[in-house]
Symmetry: C3
Subunit: 283 residues, 3 copies
């Protein structure tokens, strides 16, 4: 399947007349908790600098300080946005320490985040372009609270980028992002061994095995999957293939092998957790 | 009381000069869970096609696959929006099966949803106009994941409608929507029998008995209400009429008879659940 | 530290050309619960009157009817928004009784809310300017549900203010807001005694003791803090100063003394609750 990037644009039509061609679009992904007033403070800062900014909440219920979950979400979501979108991401156990904040470009998308592995999954999908550590305090709020770099550094930098600020003025150019430790699936002679790496809001348990891994391992109709105490004789393409209540293995809308319960919640109903192994074999 | 539709517009003033007269407004109602990255993917698709679209989240905590709750929410909310608003609704246990997706017009509001009963309560309130099944894949994303029609079909169709796409090009014209099974209250000689059909976020328990049903049954000051082990000698007009902690029956802001606890949570504190009977009698 | 107001604007750059200089910006803070359809009804009313209004959700998970928590959030958040922003706040145990609704100006910010103490903490931070009770029903929806003044009064008034309505036409001028009962910290000869007044979404427990109170009491490096069974020999400036799992006392990003667990949740892990005393002593 083609990568997500660019898909949406194939259907793009001419823009509404009388509106600027590019909207200054900023997304927010954090572990602050939904409805946190800290988010509203960040939005206030952004809109004080550029009142025309349009702000989209991606997710604020990333499990607290769970860099890996945040990274999976960013890798899913970022490529779907229009060119020039600026994504602020804050999952930042190291706030207040010396870990740097970073500007990174991925194709036509821009991300501002702590450089702590949070961009690891996105970087595995789209090669990073320009990378800049945010060291130039000229573009921050005049007073920076040591516990809230999201509001005092990332928000004003994002807003100024939408107004045309040159990213090279943000700080020092880098060659690499801090990597994210990530379990790659292992192809043994008869078995492809991966693991559960993310649970979505329906309780679907996503593995680190992609449709490409499966295709390289064998024809889908010949594959069987084992996870926890469950043995799946079929890899489905959709939830609707089986009766409600049935546990199934399927390839999800993000092209990963996942374990789900039709019309149910695999995370609650099956005894499967993040980190559990997923084995694929040929029949 | 007059229906909600149009109320807001009676107070409408001239539009801001220099802004387009109609904003391309799209709302989202789903059971994806608040903060689901799936929502962000849909927003990315919409904004990639029309960066000027304004997106409003209605509710994403519809209980998973609960078509009836989703339907009650849409019937409440849709009529309050400005003319031409496009509402995407996804509560879709049948995703990936043959159930059709539908475009439906209700007065000056447009809804895109699976045709599975989800529009039933809205259709009971406002007669549907044009109904079109979405069969023309020309306006979808080029690759459609069988588990995510919201992102790959509804989002791009909505965005293109805001850019002027003719709805007749979406597919085949229909005469009817799939109905929603719905318990109507029954008027017996001495008793009007309804049931609890929805719980709001305060734990107020809403019945299927409307202010119109009550008015047809008898003068409000002569009515008594029974629900669970509670007997209410008065139908209130507001929560403020009684002391905090008191269970009351009242006519809600959506003109339905409901059971509430003043300053409390009826769903948690009274032993009343969705499906419980509500009886109204004359004293 | 300088007050938050104005901080963001020091970095403000010229506005995007071709966009109106001020966006009609409206924020919402309520105890309706995240994803409540009541919020969507309010947004529908606002956008029906001014389709160009930009709406920002601040928080909808204020604990039900908890005026004090709502007040702390407003005091934190309101000053960060651009001049002319209109903030609607609804935490309103008295809806349907005779308590008035109020328009109040705080510097260049405008708030619409029940006059029940909800603006108390903001008023303690920024002196209120013009105060008007909303008594003129000409600017409300024609039919007002006694249980939903947010939708039927505050939303249409806010939208009309963004279109230039003169606030003096809203009702009768007032000289004072209803005060919020609030525990001020007490400075005894050797001890400064405050209490926990708010828990944020990370479980950090914020006290009523500000950085200014601390500075007036003694040099920060000489202070020790006691709360619950915990004794803190240091007042930190950031979470990153100590090892994950360590309970600490620190001055938060809103300049209040708080108790936190590094990388954890103090509200869940320490036996500390809102209302617990916090004692500061000099070593």
């Amino acid at each position: 399947m083609a990568p997500a990037v660019g898909l949406a644009r194939q259907t793009a039509s001419p823009r509404t007349p009388g509106r600027p061609d590019t909207m200054p679009l900023i997304t927010l992904t954090t572990d602050f908790g939904i409805g946190s007033p800290y988010l509203a403070e960040m939005k206030g800062v952004i809109l004080s600098i550029n009142p025309a900014a349009q702000i989209v909440d991606v997710a604020h219920n990333v499990p607290a300080q769970d860099i890996r979950s945040g990274s999976v979400i960013l890798a899913r979501v970022v490529p779907w946005f229009p060119p020039g979108t600026i994504h602020i991401a804050v999952v930042d156990p190291g706030v207040g320490t010396e870990r740097p904040l970073v500007y990174a470009r991925f194709d036509d998308q821009i991300v501002l985040a702590p450089d702590n592995g949070l961009l690891g999954r996105l970087a595995a999908k789209v090669k990073p372009g320009r990378i800049v550590h945010l060291t130039n305090s000229e573009h921050w709020l005049p007073v920076v609270a040591p516990t809230f770099h999201g509001r005092d550094i990332l928000a004003p930098v994002a807003a100024q980028l939408t107004l045309g600020l040159d990213p090279d003025r943000l700080g020092t150019l880098q060659h690499e992002l801090v990597p994210l430790p990530w379990p790659e699936p292992v192809a043994e002679p008869d078995t492809l061994v991966g693991e559960i790496v993310w649970m979505d809001s329906f309780g679907n348990m996503q593995s680190n095995i992609t449709a490409d891994h499966l295709a390289a391992f064998g024809p889908r109709e010949e594959l069987v999957v084992t996870c926890g105490s469950f043995h799946f004789r079929q890899v489905h393409g959709t939830y609707g293939d089986a009766k409600p209540g049935t546990p199934i293995a399927l390839v999800s809308s993000s092209n990963h092998l996942e374990v789900a319960v039709v019309g149910g919640n695999a995370g609650q109903q099956l005894k499967i957790a993040i980190g559990d192994p997923v084995r694929v074999q040929r029949v």
